[in-house]
Symmetry: C2
Subunit: 65 residues, 2 copies
DNA sequence: CACCAATGTAAAATAAGCTTTACGTAAAGT
DNA sequence: ACTTTACGTAAAGCTTATTTTACATTGGTG
């Protein structure tokens, strides 16, 4: 699943460390998410949507298959 | 996190088995989700939103804390 | 060049989502 | 009574998300 985490994070001028801290996850988690290595829990997705002031659907692009 | 899976499933006249099949998960997963025993992956949340023709935010109510 | 901040990689460990199997219960139909 | 359908529980096991630690790389700045 594609996501816009990196772009949006940069729009907010946040480092990976800062975003990780706001989400209460490790920096590794941010890196792995930005790199698309895995998909987050819905809880993490919601936290991201709060910080980025948008919907989950704005951040994550789901394509079935 | 609260969700409206059970209510929405019933609105669509689906059994737990049928919903599980459409989502490609086990019936146990549906039961556990409806009972709020755990939160789904974002992938499963997206699949649900497709089947229920609504947004993830319509199905799941996230309250921070 | 040396230094520091930000990003990246890799591997091992833990937590959480999800499956599988097996059994229990209650309602509805025959 | 017996069967079927739908829902529920419990436990063991597998898979994937997330953490932790440690080290490498790149770019800017003194």
């Amino acid at each position: 699943m594609k996501n816009t985490i990196k772009e949006t994070r940069l729009k907010y001028n946040l480092t990976q460390d800062e975003l990780a801290e706001q989400l209460n996850v490790s920096r590794q988690t941010i890196i792995s998410l930005e790199k698309g290595r895995y998909n987050p829990s819905i809880t993490l997705a919601f936290k991201l949507s709060r910080i980025f002031k948008c919907t989950i659907e704005d951040i994550f692009l789901y394509e079935e298959g």
